[in-house]
């Protein structure tokens, strides 16, 4: 409970401070007060909900695909050492290509439908997932490897009993970094063409100079990514009870 306060109190204080500044007229026109944004959300609940759902769905699907693909790639790279560098290199190159530039190209290639959105999310989120999976699968303790070798464990048993559990702390680190990137990727994808979604809502509001709605979209993005991050942290704390480095002082 105390930890909850420690994390939420600074945010609350920031919001209250912003509201005070806005009321005092110290904020420029393009920065609405938190209360205005909240009131807008309250006034059009359907608007928010109808746009959040497709974005959340796209982000989740793209994230899941990226997680599976990178884990399989990392598994192959771990089993087949010569391709290790190539897999890493491919991840870096894909990560270095700016999504904002490729999104219109992908829209031409795949159409502006859900498929394009999911691909962009997967591309945006893949690198931390890949790094987490590759470093994680390589993190198994050398003496534990010898121990399982003494027991004549098969490759699969080595993976299942040692490498995969050893990888979990780094896999979770990758998940946590990739989560906001997936949300960002979904919004970027929607900019390239979508009728609904937080990205579409943001773009429409921008074109109609509806600054409050723009901020509402921005804050919804932050809130959703933050919630997803918190969910990962919770799962991590439950799943990695054995890993003390995860435990934060309370």
């Amino acid at each position: 409970m105390r930890r909850l306060w420690v994390t939420t109190l600074p945010t609350l204080m920031l919001l209250v401070g912003l509201e005070g500044l806005k009321r005092a007229g110290a904020l420029p026109v393009f920065l609405p007060g938190p209360w205005q944004v909240l009131a807008a959300a309250w006034a059009h609940p359907r608007l928010l909900w109808d746009n959040l759902l497709p974005t959340a769905g796209t982000a989740t699907q793209g994230f899941a695909i990226a997680a599976v693909v990178t884990l399989v790639a990392a598994g192959i790279a771990t089993a087949l050492r010569p391709v290790w560098g190539a897999v890493y290199g491919l991840g870096v190159v894909l990560h270095a290509i700016p999504v904002i530039a490729t999104a219109p190209l992908l829209a031409l290639w795949l159409g502006t439908g859900a498929r394009m959105h999911v691909v962009i999310v997967a591309l945006a989120a893949q690198f931390p997932l890949l790094v987490g999976a590759m470093q994680g699968l390589a993190a198994a303790d050398a003496q534990q490897v010898e121990m399982l070798h003494c027991l004549s464990a098969s490759r699969w048993q080595m993976f299942r009993y040692l490498q995969l559990p050893s990888a979990l702390p780094l896999l979770f680190a990758g998940f946590k970094v990739a989560t906001p990137l997936a949300v960002l990727g979904a919004v970027t994808a929607e900019w390239a063409g979508a009728d609904r979604g937080i990205g579409a809502m943001m773009l429409n509001a921008l074109f109609s100079y509806d600054i409050v709605t723009v901020w509402l979209a921005v804050l919804t993005c932050c809130g959703f990514a933050g919630l997803a991050y918190a969910a990962w942290s919770l799962i991590e704390r439950t799943a990695l009870r054995w890993n003390r480095t995860v435990e934060l002082p309370t």
């Binding site: 010898e146 121990m147 040692l162 054995w242």
Partner: protein, 268 residues
């Protein structure tokens, strides 16, 4: 009572690092009868852990042969006849004590279960961890973790138990107690045991046969028979037989002949 005799015959191992090749072991030989307790002693870097790793088929020798009950080390390992206890407990931190002890059974599976394997629950009781079955390794002391590791090494009822300074990280008092327990467990299991240590007192107290190793290149320079009866008790730590064997080991380690050492002891 399953046990195998161990014969290491002129085993050589060369490490090819970045610089010049290093001869880790040069024609090292030793023989240990089935059911016996052997100890390998020597200064740091003499290759005693390396020799143990060769027996466990973790490393491959460049020359020479190793026979465990007439089989090669690879065959013995594949038959799950070798139990290994590392310097560190090497328990899987996400598995409970019971799950760690059960791990070898999970790996062997039902297809080739070894005859007469002790139940994990019995072994946990034997090593004195009853009541801690569901604890995670991180919740136990170093000594308790190492006991769990010994239980794990014994769960497939190995014919030979290899111990690489298993209590090196423990304090003297705990170590003494663990050694007595280890001897009791060894006697009950009936396995052949080979212990690597750098304590003269420990080697002589535990073993029937002490193999003294010398460094650069690593080789077995002397074998000392310990004439103490079993079971060993703490009182024997003060017996003249133990002192005689310990002195013999000490002479082997410091490269003196019997006569020279006698003179030195008197002048002390």
């Amino acid at each position: 009572m399953a046990s195998r005799d161990l014969v290491i015959d002129r085993v050589t191992l060369v490490f090819h690092g970045r610089g010049d090749p290093v001869i880790a072991l040069d024609r090292a030989s030793l023989a240990l009868p089935g059911g016996g307790f052997g100890a390998i002693i020597g200064p740091s870097g003499c290759g005693k852990s390396t020799l143990l790793r060769l027996v466990a088929d973790i490393l491959r020798p460049d020359a020479g042969s190793i026979r465990l009950g007439g089989q090669t080390q690879r065959q013995a390992r594949q038959e799950h006849a070798i139990g290994f206890v590392f310097q560190q407990p090497t328990l899987l931190p996400w598995r409970s004590v019971l799950q760690n002890v059960e791990l070898p059974l999970a790996i062997v599976g039902r297809r080739s279960g070894r005859e007469g394997a002790l139940s994990p629950a019995e072994l946990i009781e034997l090593v004195g961890l009853k009541g801690f079955e569901n604890a995670l390794p991180g919740e136990l002391s170093g000594g308790m973790q190492q006991r769990a590791a010994i239980a794990r090494a014994l769960v497939l009822r190995p014919d030979i138990l290899l111990l690489d300074e298993p209590f090196g990280a423990l304090d003297e008092i705990t170590r003494q107690r663990m050694n007595i327990e280890l001897l009791r467990i060894w006697a009950e299991s009936g396995t052949t045991a080979l212990l690597v240590t750098h304590s003269i007192a420990e080697a002589v107290f535990m073993a029937d046969r002490v193999f003294v190793m010398s460094p650069r290149p690593g080789r077995v320079s002397q074998t000392v028979e310990v004439a103490l009866p079993r079971p060993r008790t703490l009182d024997m730590m003060r017996s003249p037989e133990l002192f005689a064997s310990a002195n013999e080991v000490r002479d082997g380690l410091f490269g003196r002949t019997g006569e020279e050492s006698a003179v030195n002891v008197e002048s002390w």
